[in-house]
Symmetry: C2
Subunit: 260 residues, 2 copies
């Protein structure tokens, strides 16, 4: 456990362009040097945890190369990390305005691995043409920042927005075993927690959750999702906003996985 | 169940200055008239649900008084509502900037009944003198709006900010049986969901939850809370922001109460 108390640093993409292994040298960026040496006042020989952006945690040691430059050397692979054992994907009908940003931030903290923004019958935006690349870059950046702040080892992938129909068709092609849930508001629907707890398996299935935008899913959408293997579930008896519902869903899934 | 599909209207404080009962007449405000008659196009004789701000739901019928003014008459008391069976209080060390606002909004959706903003060792603001009445009014208004949007029957009470010490001393004076949890980040702490599920009781205890600000509680604060009867619990292995942690805590508590 003590290893987990060490400082964690997420490496940049170029620092892990070749896979890390024990004895790999890592060239430290000026920002990392400033943070480790000036802010944290670590000295040569101090250990920290390097996160390789792919879920790997590496014990690294600050040292100097032959030219007296700060580098780090990988001294061990760490097995422990705080990621959930199951991959969780969130399909979210795009909420109004910039509300998707807080959803990306909060669900990233909670361990989401992939977010698929969806156009649905009730989303205001109906096609990708209305969303610039700049906005998609911004979403990915928010996921990176939130991932770093919450010391995740994965950075969630934010997909290109697509229609619910296209997403369901893509999922149907996948061979990965996944539990698929669509959050609905009809009374008497089984609660997501009850549904998860009724699973009688030790396996770590992938979990896919779909939440609606303001106004929820239409009956037609619920039907095509259920036909595609999604289980309708409730997040409780209260009316949740489009921004809160995915956070509640992820809270329930992560609490279930953490305690099972 | 069909009653719950009727339109719900939260009455203004002056409309419930005397307690409602069957056959009470309710003077409709111009805004309510506009909403019910023009937006929803309800006609005389149509039914709707009037929420009395105290947890009561009343079946009401639009009608006209002797002067031909729109009024409503209470025709029945409804027993069903979407409130949780337990009163939930959130004590939250005040997060930075205006972040408390999103916490108020999201935890109101999730059924919180009382929010106590706290000054703690690591909050930036240290005393009530730094917070204007205007801001406190704004918090209460946000709770009212969120409560209305999520069709709550209660409007959560936002307390005057106070120190953790004062709050703990006040709780110690209370005779109400309450389960008290403080969310901490130490490894190997029991998960909140596990702790709730280990309760062997059918009773609806009041539940009090304390979450920290950026940086969490100090060891001193955890100690005085535990000495005051709080149980330390974990919200999972991931690092949550001060804004997300209370939403996760409320998600877990409400999922537990909804499914027990």
């Amino acid at each position: 456990m003590i290893k987990r108390r060490l400082q964690r640093v997420t490496l940049q993409a170029h620092q892990v362009s070749s896979a890390l292994q024990i004895n790999s040298a890592i060239a430290i960026t000026p920002e990392q040097r400033h943070y480790l040496c000036n802010v944290l006042r670590l000295e040569t020989g101090a250990e920290f945890i390097a996160l390789d952006r792919q879920g790997g945690w590496w014990l690294a040691k600050l040292c100097r190369d032959l030219s007296d430059l700060d580098i780090a050397t990988v001294i061990d692979k760490l097995e422990n990390n705080s990621e959930l054992n199951s991959k969780i994907t969130l399909g979210i009908a795009m909420p109004k305005g910039s509300n998707l940003e807080s959803v990306i931030r909060q669900t990233t903290e909670l361990g989401v691995r992939q977010i698929v923004p969806l156009f649905s019958d009730r989303t205001i935006i109906k096609s990708g043409a209305e969303i610039g690349n700049q906005k998609r870059d911004r979403w990915q950046r928010i996921a990176e920042e939130a991932s770093e702040l919450s010391v995740r080892t994965y950075i969630p992938e934010i997909n290109t927005p697509q229609t619910l129909g296209v997403w369901l068709a893509d999922l149907a092609k996948s061979t990965a075993l996944a539990l698929k849930y669509i959050c609905v508001t009809s009374p008497d629907t089984t609660h997501l927690l009850t549904s998860l707890q009724s699973l009688n398996t030790e396996e770590n299935f992938e979990i896919i959750i779909a939440t609606g935008c303001e106004g929820g899913w239409t009956a037609r959408e619920e039907e095509i999702a259920i036909a595609a293997g999604f289980i309708p579930v409730s997040l409780g008896d209260r009316v949740l906003s489009a921004v809160t519902a995915p956070v509640v869903a992820l809270s329930i899934v992560s609490a279930f996985l953490d305690t099972k």
